[in-house]
Amino acid sequence: MTTHDLVILGSGPAGMAAAATAVAYGITALVVDEQPAPGGQIYRSIESTPLKERRILGDDYWHGKALVDGLDDPRIDYRPGTTLWQLTRRLEVGLLQGGHASMVQARHVILAHGAMERPFPIPGWTLPGVMTAGSGQILLKSAGLAPSAPVVLAGCGPLLLLLAVQYLRAGIPIAALLDTTPAGQYWDALPLLPGALRNSRTLLKGLGLLAELRRAGVRHVRHVTALEAEGEDRLERVRWQCGNDPEWHCLTTPLLLLHQGVVPNTQVTRALDCAHDWDERQLAWQPRRDPWLATDVEGVAVAGDAGGIVGAKASAMQGQLAGLGAAIALGRVSEDKIHGEVKRLRRDLARETAIRPFLDVLYRPAVHWRLPEDETLVCRCEEVTAGEVRRMAEQGCRGPNQTKSFTRCGMGPCQGRMCGLTVSELLADANGQSVAETGYYRLRPPFKPITLGQLATAAEDTSG
């Protein structure tokens, strides 16, 4: 099997920064990413986007250019369109590229595969025409596609506001922004504001977005407490309630974009059986890491949002840190020698992430957005409702694994990505135990479906 010193999963800010840092110490890095071009979620299509007018996507987007250029280094073997379908605790790496599966051996691995949007299970969320804010942004950046009729945006979190503003700048009408941020949360977040001021740049940018929306006169509906997507075979209407008001409001729209924050994608770290902790502030699982971002699996580090939501800039800093960690682990530099650099990096990282507690509290999705009503589908693939999950708890299922085997919840093609968080939280609630006690799905490769034919030849092709 071909051996690579360093394999990096993901070419977003964390992965690109990790690669650039590591190669500076003479390490050659293999960087794999499923996407056809570098940039990750934030800098997606930065080299090819049709939206050349910088104002629309904003400076934070174009900031990624330098990182992307850094990939163009002879010591970096960057492979787009390549999926990681297997990673063992012995650091055997299974790759799938152009329909061809192969195995390589890594000495060190940095997982920088990022986050995904938190599931937003509301009635009707499986109707065509209901998508995520992230998907709206991906279509905008990569293909210059925007809603063809006034769009409804619903949920909470910085990404939702950013997309609204990007649409405005591109001249796209917004029918309504339905804000699900609970009323009291502004007050809850207030005490955390002084800490957040350490990263005043980001804070000001957030306020700027809100002001821009206000100036544009966008219909910003606050304190939405109930939300439903309706339609026969596709989305036709969005209905909502505000505060304690029993009245339902309704808008006709072909497109609803949902968002309530992002969470680490733990598919790979789970399949590796890394230890994970439940983060009550971010309401998400995180792989447990040491100060070098190393997991409890020898030779595997996690950088960026894959390890806990920190944002793009901090992700790149974590990438650097993990890159330095790789250089130490591979014996290219001693810890003493880079002491000063690491100290500075950690300080910058602390400053950059100082705003997180504030954001996490401000945009924490309220419990009824995470624990839907009985009739609402939780597992989109196998079409399992919240009520069925609750019934399993009544029958003695303490956690998601027994529930999965009794209901098929989480067994579909998305491998539990879209229902995992909801199911853990539902069971915790129904059983009166913590989410940490309840646990998460046990996962196994393949991380992405692979054909039998590809698998049949995978063990033979070890040339990559």
Partner: protein, 372 residues
């Protein structure tokens, strides 16, 4: 402390089938099970209700399996009536594929002697490639033929477990999940079963804790020298029906996905999966059904079989601690019906089913039996 008639330790397929049988007969039964993550063969198995080829060295195992296969339809129906859970049990017969004439000859010799040893109760037929193709049109060119037996079938093991659980609860059983039992001892006429923060008292105790029996059995004068044996399984995306009867290592489920597996690895308590093993299973599946080459694998897993040294079940009543029983076996799906309908009555006081008389621990190693 509330006293149950029976405490069953282990809520896997074996424990649940026995507990269901006991509860259905009107006994007050508690099942003690671990939490969400545990070594659970019941959750990782293949779902065959299988007879052919079993018991080559011990014909009574074949008879016990046939007894269970015969009782399966009534178990399945009963669970459906009681709980609305469908086990998806089907007994269309099953095939064991052979890849050469030599394999065919060996298979035929084995099954002929099994038929003889069971006094003709077990019957089978050998199919050549053409006959097999009539049953499975997609069969690969390199498959020489197969042995076929009407005794074989399959079910959804997860729904079986769910049905047994639900049926048990319907019959008034008490399910106590949450943590490992670490101590079982006799006090007066009854048993005390201890686990973290809790004690349960019962007049009789059945140890059906799978691999956990190793540590529990000696506490009540029993012996369960079990070893884990890993099997890895692959499952594909849902497909339209294409395989209408199960084979030894390939079957299509009621949902349409194809399950493939049956590796036997001696790896201790490691439930992981290994690429070469998965790859090998994939190769074999593609050889059997070449059209599967471009279907996608959506999940794989490894699970630990509960193996005795000779692979046959272990059922025993304790002499030193009357009222304590141990039950474990590898084929918990196949034997579920026998466990619910024949083993449970024995545990409750009926006479011992004749087929299972040989399945005590004395057959392994007389020296290591804990003295009474």
């Amino acid at each position: 402390m509330k006293t149950y008639d029976f405490a069953v330790v282990g809520g896997g397929l074996v424990g649940s089938a026995i507990a269901y049988g006991l509860a259905k007969a009107g006994h007050r039964v508690a099942v003690l099970d671990e939490g969400d993550v545990a070594y659970r063969a019941s959750r990782g198995n293949f779902g065959l209700v299988w007879v052919q080829g079993k018991g080559l060295e011990m014909p009574s195992y074949s008879q016990w399996s046939m007894s269970s296969a015969s009782l399966w339809p009534s178990l399945s129906e009963e669970l459906w009536d009681l709980t609305d859970v469908a086990t998806q049990h089907q007994a269309p017969g099953g095939v064991h594929l052979c890849y050469s004439q030599r394999e065919m000859d060996l298979r035929q010799a084995d099954l002929t002697s099994l038929a003889k040893a069971t006094g003709g109760q077990f019957d089978f037929a050998m199919l050549d490639h053409q006959q097999l193709r009539e049953m499975i049109p997609e069969i690969g060119e390199s498959v020489a033929g197969a042995s076929w037996s009407r005794w074989d079938g399959h079910a959804n093991p997860l729904y079986l477990l769910r049905g047994l659980h639900a049926g048990f609860l319907r019959c008034g059983g008490t399910f106590l999940p949450g943590s490992k039992v670490h101590r079982v001892h006799q006090r007066g006429d009854s048993f005390v079963i201890e686990r973290e923060g809790e004690r349960v008292q019962a007049e009789r105790v059945v140890l059906a804790a799978g691999l956990g029996n190793r540590l529990l059995a000696p506490q009540v004068g029993l012996h369960a020298p079990l070893v884990p044996n890993r099997g890895e399984i692959l499952v594909t995306e849902r497909m339209r029906p294409l395989l209408n009867l199960p084979t030894t290592y390939l079957r299509q489920t009621g949902e349409g996905s194809i399950l493939m597996g049956d590796s036997h690895e001696d790896v201790g308590f490691d439930e992981g999966t290994e690429t070469p093993v998965l790859s090998h299973i994939a190769q074999r599946a593609v050889r059997a059904l070449p059209a599967l080459a471009n279907t996608r694998i959506v999940r794989t897993w490894g699970a630990l079989r509960v193996m005795t040294p000779d692979g046959y079940p272990l059922y025993q009543a304790s002499l030193s601690h009357p009222g304590a029983f141990v039950a474990c076996c590898h084929s918990g799906v196949t034997l579920a019906a026998a466990h619910a309908k024949r083993l449970a009555p024995w545990i409750a006081g009926d006479s011992l089913p004749s087929e299972i008389a040989p399945f005590t621990a004395e057959r392994f190693d007389v020296q290591t039996v804990i003295p009474a």
